[in-house]
C-alpha cells in the first residue's frame, strides 16, 4: 500500500476486553460503508469477539474495560509485554468507567447483595494505567468510530495523533444547540473533552463526561456556574462521578 509515495505496511493489531460491555470493540465493526477499507489497513492478529484465529504477534493492542479481578492483571501484563503500543480503549479502560460506581460499596456487601454466600473473586475497579503503562488513550462510552478511524489512519501513515484539547461546549455551540443550562439542567459540556461531536447535548440530554476532562479546564468556575444557576449539587455530583473521569478534580475539591 502506498501513501504520498511512501510504502506503508498494515498495522498488526490485537483487540482485548476486560471488565466491560464490549461496546467499544463493537464500534470497530460499525460505520459499515467504510469498514472494508478500514479493515484493509489492519492485519487483525487477535480479536476474540469476531475471530477464532488468534496470534500473539500484534504490535498495537487495543484494551477495553477496567480491571476488577486478579487474573486480569496477569493477562494485561502479558499484553503489555507483547505490544509496542498499548491503547486504553474507552472510558472503562481510561478512567475505570461506570464500573467504578461499585467502588462506593463495601466489597463484601456487593458480593452478598448479588451472589449471597457464594465465593466471588472481585476487587475495586481500576483503570488500565494503574496497572501498566498506557501509550495512548481513546476515551468515550462508547468510543467514536470516526475518531478511531482517524487515529488508526494516523498510526498507519505515521502522522500526528491528538485528541481535541477543547471542551464539548465548542462542538455543541457549532451545532447550534440550545444550551442545557438554559433549560435548567447540569451539563458537563464545559469541562469534558470534545471529539464526540457533542452527541448527547445534540440529543437534548446532558453530557455525563464520558471523555473525561479537557485540557486546562476551569473546574472551580464550572462549580460556580452550577451554584449561580441554582442547579442541584446532588445532580452535578451524580454526573461528575458517572464515569470516574473527574476523580482527580473531585478529590482536589474535597
Amino acid at each position: 500500500m502506498n501513501h504520498l509515495g511512501f510504502k506503508i505496511g498494515k498495522m498488526k493489531i490485537g483487540s482485548f476486553d476486560f471488565t466491560c460491555c464490549e461496546g467499544c470493540q463493537l464500534q470497530l465493526a460499525n460505520k459499515e460503508s467504510t469498514l472494508p477499507d478500514f479493515l484493509g489497513l489492519l492485519d487483525v492478529r487477535n480479536f476474540r469477539e469476531i475471530s477464532s484465529e488468534q496470534h500473539d504477534d500484534y504490535d498495537i493492542a487495543l484494551v477495553e474495560g477496567s480491571i476488577t479481578r486478579s487474573d486480569e492483571i496477569e493477562r494485561l501484563k502479558a499484553i503489555r509485554a507483547q505490544a509496542s503500543v498499548l491503547v486504553a480503549f474507552g472510558s472503562c479502560a481510561c478512567f475505570g468507567g461506570v464500573n467504578s460506581l461499585k467502588n462506593r460499596i463495601p466489597e463484601g456487601e456487593a458480593i452478598k447483595g448479588v451472589y449471597g454466600d457464594k465465593k466471588i473473586d472481585t476487587m475495586p475497579s481500576t483503570k488500565i494505567s494503574d496497572i501498566v503503562s498506557v501509550d495512548f488513550m481513546v476515551p468515550g462510552c462508547p468510543v467514536s468510530k470516526e475518531e478511531v478511524e482517524r487515529i488508526v489512519v494516523g498510526v498507519v501513515t505515521r502522522s500526528l495523533n491528538n485528541l481535541p484539547k477543547y471542551p464539548v461546549c465548542v462542538d455543541c455551540k457549532q451545532r447550534l444547540n440550545t444550551c442545557l443550562f438554559d433549560l435548567g439542567e447540569v451539563c458537563l459540556g464545559p469541562v469534558t473533552r470534545a471529539g464526540c461531536d457533542a452527541v448527547c447535548p445534540s440529543g437534548k440530554t446532558a453530557c455525563l463526561g464520558c471523555r473525561g476532562p479537557a485540557d486546562d479546564i476551569n473546574f472551580s468556575s464550572f462549580l460556580q456556574l452550577v451554584k449561580e444557576k441554582g442547579l442541584s449539587q446532588d445532580e452535578m455530583r451524580e454526573k461528575l462521578t458517572f464515569y470516574n473521569g473527574f476523580a482527580d478534580y473531585l478529590d482536589h475539591e474535597s
Binding site: 463493537l26 459499515e32 472494508p36 479481578r69 461506570v98 460499596i105 462508547p142 452527541v199 440529543g203 440530554t205
Partner: protein, 424 residues
C-alpha cells in the same frame, strides 16, 4: 473403537463475553459436558442503588454494548410503571423503532460475523469478505440499516442518548424518517440475498425438547412489555417475573442459571417465534415456512433462522411505524413527572430474548433496589444441557473429537450468547 478425548475451549471466540466449554469422553462414552461462564461480575444491581430514576437507564444501558437500547428501555419501562408515568404514543412508536434497529443490527452481526464463518469453515468474516464479498456486503448493509434506525431514533447506535423517562428527549426529523423509509426499501434486495445465502447452508439436525419463554401481548409480535408466557402453557403477569425465572447459582459459573417447568428453558428469537409466530408480518411468515420453521421448533440451531425471519418482520413493521410517525406532528414526545416511591418490572424482548429489570424507588425517585435478569442468564442452563445431549449424540454416532468440538461451538453460538450482559 472406544475413544477417550477432552475438549477444552477457553474463552470461546466469536461470542460476546467470556465462556468456556469442557467436554470429556471416556471409553467411548460422554463423561462430562459443561458450559462454564467465567466473566468478571460488575455488580450493576448494587451500583444502581442511590442513582436517580432519571439517570438509571443511562447506567443500565452500559450493561451491554450490543443491546444497550433494550436495557435502557427495560429500566425506563420499570420506572414508568413504578411511578405511573404514561409516555406519549409517538414516543412509544419511536422507542419500538429503536428496538427494531437494535434487533436488526444485533441479528446481522450475529448471523454474518459470528455464526456464518462456522458454516463456511472460516475463522472469521474477514476471509469471507474475499471468498463471498457479496454476502458480507449484504450483511453489512443490513447491520448499517439497523444502526441507522437506532441513530435516527436515539441519537447513537450504542448507548442511546435520547431515550428518557417519560418519553424521548428528541424526535427524529420528518426528513430523517423519510430517508430511513427509503433506505429500508432500497435494502430489501440485501435481505433477500442474505436469505438466499442461508438457504444454501446445512443447519445441523439436533433436537432436545425444552420450554420456550417470551413476552406475548396478543396484538403485535412482541418487543416491549406484555404477558410472560411459555410453550408449556405458563402465563404470568409482567411483575411476576421471579416466578418465570427462579434463578439459582451453580459452582462453575459467575452467571446464574434459571428454570421454569423443566430442567432448563430458552429465550430468544426462536422462543419469540414459537410463542408468537402468527403475529409475524405476512412476508416474514412465508420466509419461516420456506425454511420449514414451524412452532414449536426444538432445534436450537434454528435460532439462526428465527433471527433471519425476524429481520424480515422488522423490515415490514418498521415501515408501518415510520408511516405512523410521519402522520404525527411529533410535538408530544415527553411527559413530565414527579418522582415518587414505587416498584415495578419492565420486560422487553432484547435481541437475545426476554429481559427483565425490576426497580424500586423512594419518595425522591432514587433507586433503592434493582434486579436485572438477562436473556443469556435464562439460556445458560439450556446451553449446558444441550451441550451434554449433543456431545453424547455425537460420540454415539462415532464422530471424532474435532467434529464434536465444531458442533458444540456452533451450538453455543446459535444461542448468540451475550455473556458480559448475563453476568453484569
Amino acid at each position: 473403537m472406544k475413544v477417550d478425548f477432552n475438549i477444552d475451549i477457553h474463552h470461546l471466540p466469536r461470542v460476546e463475553g467470556h465462556g468456556n466449554i469442557h467436554i470429556s469422553v471416556k471409553e467411548g462414552k460422554l463423561a462430562d459436558a459443561t458450559w462454564e461462564v467465567i466473566e468478571t461480575p460488575r455488580f450493576f444491581e448494587m451500583m444502581l442503588r442511590g442513582v436517580s430514576a432519571e439517570r438509571a437507564s443511562f447506567l443500565t444501558s452500559r450493561i451491554c454494548g450490543i443491546c444497550s437500547i433494550s436495557h435502557s428501555l427495560a429500566s425506563i419501562r420499570a420506572l414508568e410503571r413504578a411511578m405511573e408515568i404514561e409516555p406519549p404514543k409517538a414516543a412509544e412508536a419511536i422507542r419500538l423503532l429503536a428496538m427494531h434497529g437494535e434487533t436488526l443490527q444485533s441479528h446481522a452481526l450475529h448471523l454474518f460475523f459470528l455464526a456464518a464463518p462456522d458454516f463456511l469453515d472460516m475463522p472469521s468474516a474477514i476471509p469471507i469478505l474475499h471468498s463471498h464479498p457479496e454476502i458480507v456486503k449484504a450483511g453489512l448493509s443490513l447491520k448499517e440499516l439497523g444502526n441507522e434506525m437506532s441513530i435516527a431514533t436515539t441519537g447513537r447506535a450504542t448507548h442511546p442518548v435520547s431515550l428518557v423517562l417519560g418519553g424521548v428527549s428528541k424526535a427524529p426529523s420528518k426528513q430523517r424518517l423519510k430517508e430511513l423509509k427509503e433506505m429500508i426499501m432500497k435494502r430489501r434486495p440485501a435481505l433477500d440475498k442474505a436469505t438466499d445465502f442461508f438457504r444454501t447452508l446445512t443447519i445441523p439436525e439436533f433436537v432436545r425438547e425444552t420450554e420456550f419463554i417470551s413476552l406475548r401481548n396478543g396484538k403485535d409480535y412482541p418487543f416491549i412489555g406484555g404477558d410472560l408466557v411459555s410453550t408449556d402453557g405458563v402465563v404470568r403477569d409482567e411483575n411476576d417475573y421471579l416466578q418465570m425465572t427462579n434463578e439459582y447459582l451453580v459452582d462453575f459459573s459467575t452467571s446464574k442459571f434459571t428454570r421454569l417447568s423443566r430442567q432448563s428453558s430458552a429465550a430468544g428469537a426462536l422462543a419469540r417465534f414459537n410463542n408468537n409466530s402468527r403475529l409475524l408480518g405476512h412476508h416474514a411468515h412465508e420466509v419461516a415456512a420456506s425454511f420449514g420453521l414451524e412452532p414449536v421448533c426444538h432445534n436450537p440451531f434454528m435460532n439462526n433462522i428465527a433471527q433471519l425471519v425476524e429481520c424480515h418482520h422488522i423490515f415490514e413493521n418498521a415501515e408501518t411505524l415510520i408511516d405512523l410517525l410521519l402522520d404525527d406532528d411529533l410535538l408530544e414526545i415527553r411527559t413530565s413527572y414527579k418522582p415518587k416511591a414505587g416498584a415495578a418490572t419492565g420486560a422487553v424482548e432484547a435481541p437475545r430474548g426476554v429481559l427483565y429489570h425490576h426497580l424500586e424507588t423512594d419518595d425522591n425517585g432514587k433507586v433503592v433496589k434493582a434486579d436485572c435478569i438477562i436473556p443469556t442468564t435464562q439460556n445458560n442452563a439450556n446451553i449446558h444441557y444441550d451441550l451434554h445431549a449433543l456431545a453424547a449424540e455425537a460420540v454415539k454416532e462415532g464422530k471424532t473429537d474435532r467434529e464434536t468440538e465444531k458442533l458444540c461451538v456452533m451450538l453455543v453460538r446459535s444461542y448468540d450468547p451475550c455473556i458480559s450482559c448475563s453476568v453484569h
